[in-house]
């Protein structure tokens, strides 16, 4: 008992085949380090593709009937890598009802139905782990659950979408337009043919739902987040931001104000070029944490990809194996707290404002412009300004409906 952990695998796409490979390579090392041998014994056959070659290679059997996996008394844990909400949700609930532990990388599902799934796991006396749902290979969720447990986080923010960071890196470094950068991301496989979830900030917002839970204990949903994407961001804005000393990044942020209320947002932000987040290029992700104990810290790594994400999944399996050998069930999230949300519109930040050549903003914004920063003029006639600290509400009321005006928050220096 406890020396063998048998896995039932649902999903053999990019990440699923990565899990087969990483487990195969690391099985002996994991056994040497934990005493437990982790083996995939059975997998759900794909309705789209013959997976018998991979099943043969890694020595597990296939079944077209998912219930056979749930009912298999030899299987201890289900790894769900199908993605999206249905039927992944039904599969996980069924697995938990059969008292199987579950490991998943499904951020959409955890962000939208996490509390229901965690309650089902608790009721069944098993664990539900999902480290790979945020930041691919980055060790962020377990680190928040352990190292930051005796700390008080005030801000957690960063780059949590690799597709848009790849595009923005190309725009900043090579001067590509938004459309050129998107095409290149699609060619390289970093963006899907329908890039909506990435470029409109939805994917980043799902991850912020999960990070808000781990950092503040608060359960929120997508509707609580002020979401802006990078769709149609102009190369002139990228250039003008650079002239001010900033790189434009898509930043997800959950920030507590002095009254203890948390504002959660996703949107393009001007990051100082000297800030650690500005050094995060291409498809990499990074999560920056401000806390009363540790101060300022960051974890950084690949936000997606077969092997990094698979390694996070296998790290969850390894933790499960250790806990099971010890005869304990260790919950992934350590705490709940009532949601106490602040409207993003109440936050005070400096802003970048730009306008096309047919608009003269200089008088309209005279009262809010930062007099220490000279405006930038682009060769195409557009101009850009940095403001003093003002509320998002003020910016939106004054400029939100004006065509040709771009507004982005400016991140403070350290």
């Amino acid at each position: 008992m406890g020396k063998q952990l048998n896995v039932g695998l649902l999903g053999m796409g990019v990440v699923g085949s990565g899990v087969c490979q990483v487990l195969s390579e690391q099985r002996a090392a994991i056994k040497a380090r934990t005493g437990v041998e982790i083996t995939i014994t059975r997998a759900l056959a794909s309705p789209y593709e013959d997976k018998s070659a991979i099943a043969d290679k890694y020595g597990f059997s296939l079944t077209a009937t998912v219930e056979e996996i749930f009912a298999d008394p030899e299987i201890d844990v289900i790894v769900e890598l199908i993605g999206k909400i249905n039927p992944a949700k039904e599969f996980i609930l069924a697995a938990l009802a059969h008292k199987k532990h579950v490991v998943t990388a499904n951020k959409d599902l955890i962000a939208t139905h996490g509390p229901e799934l965690l309650a089902a796991a608790e009721k069944a006396g098993v664990s539900l782990y999902f480290e790979a749902s945020v930041g691919g290979g980055i060790p962020i969720l377990r680190t928040l659950s352990t190292h930051y447990l005796p700390d008080t986080i005030t801000d957690i923010f960063g780059i949590v979408n690799g597709t848009t960071n790849y595009m923005l890196t190309k725009m900043v470094a090579e001067g590509l337009t938004y459309e050129e950068a998107l095409s290149e991301a699609q060619e390289k496989g970093f963006a899907e043919s329908d890039p909506t979830n990435d470029v409109d900030g939805i994917d980043a917002a799902y991850k912020m739902v999960i990070l808000t839970k781990f950092a503040f204990g608060m359960t929120i949903d997508l509707a609580d987040i002020d979401i802006k994407g990078i769709r149609g961001l102009s190369i002139e804005d990228i250039q003008q931001a650079a002239a001010f000393g900033y790189d434009v990044k898509l930043i997800g942020a959950a920030q507590k104000n002095t009254a203890g209320a948390v504002a959660v947002s996703v949107g393009p932000v001007l990051v100082p070029q000297s800030h650690a987040l500005a050094s995060i290029k291409s498809e990499f992700n990074g999560v920056f944490i401000k806390s009363t104990g540790i101060g300022q810290s960051m974890v950084y790594g690949p936000g997606a990809g077969s092997r990094p994400t698979a390694t996070s999944v296998v790290a969850d399996l390894t933790e499960l194996a250790k806990h099971r050998a010890d005869g304990i069930v260790a919950p992934f999230i350590q705490f709940d707290a009532p949601a106490h949300l602040a409207a993003a519109t109440e936050r005070v930040d400096r802003y970048y404002l730009s306008c096309s050549s047919d608009i003269d903003l200089s008088e309209t914004i005279a009262e809010v412009i930062d007099p220490t920063v000279p405006p930038q003029q682009n060769s195409n006639g557009s101009s850009a300004y940095l403001t003093k600290p003002i509320t998002q509400q003020f910016v939106e009321e004054r400029f939100g409906n004006s065509a040709g005006i771009q507004m982005m928050k400016v991140m403070e220096e350290f």
Copy 2:
């Protein structure tokens, strides 16, 4: 049983008083999240200073007799924050012999006597944790023990000494000389009056001993490390490196070659300005990891300081509290492997070579110079070159004994 964890505290200096404060602030949150209340019940009185005010404030008793703490049946864990080797080593061994768990931040001791202490802990059936011994507040050791357990690390390197990083940041950003930067670090409390351990790379080397154990399972000692410091680094070299596009950083590195042998070194390295490690300024630390699964990742944060280091100590206590409530003893390090070391001199890297105005290196190094990078000339007449990849042995044999010649490794781009 398990709902209360009583702490005996040895050492009430900067970090010790931070532990009192962080525990006091976080006690209720830790209890809510783990079910365990952590309380300092007794501390060793300082021979140098009256600590009764702090003992009264945080509600614990003082004793001048350390044996009373070890013999106290109410105390579950000893926190050792005295530092240095003696008497810290004797105290820890005595505590372990009394079957007390131990948490320490003592890098010198762990680096030089870690195996003996870990064996004593194992024999006594208790835990020895020391997250704060590397990187202050950074969650690096526990992360290596969990998230990277099912991964194969090939390189672990980074900035693990805050004092020298503060000095180098001042030299790069403000043009201070080595002496000016050292004076400022001493004024700010980042460097001791005798800065030897920091500027000569000894402190960084201690940390590399510990990181080598966690990354590769190998037990090494200081003599296995090729150690260079930053003493007397010239501002001209800083400027010439910047002109090539690099910041000079003191880098500790443990790197596995294709034959599986690990070379461990500490020394000044030219880091590309676009690399994540170059964005680590002042007293901050960062550890970069290359591995076959996750790929490239980094953790970053404050390398020292009262609250960050104390928070790492309290994170160890919190993990201990959880494990004890579960009735288990979880070792901090997961694996051992035989030491298989490569001489640092066998490593192939690009090099930065500079010489004062009275030396003309151009002919001597014609065969190794990188022809794509024009040499830099400094206003004081010194010149600098980047080489093609060559072995450290070649560099040392050819230039190691030449006065007026500076040699530094160049870190590759990502």
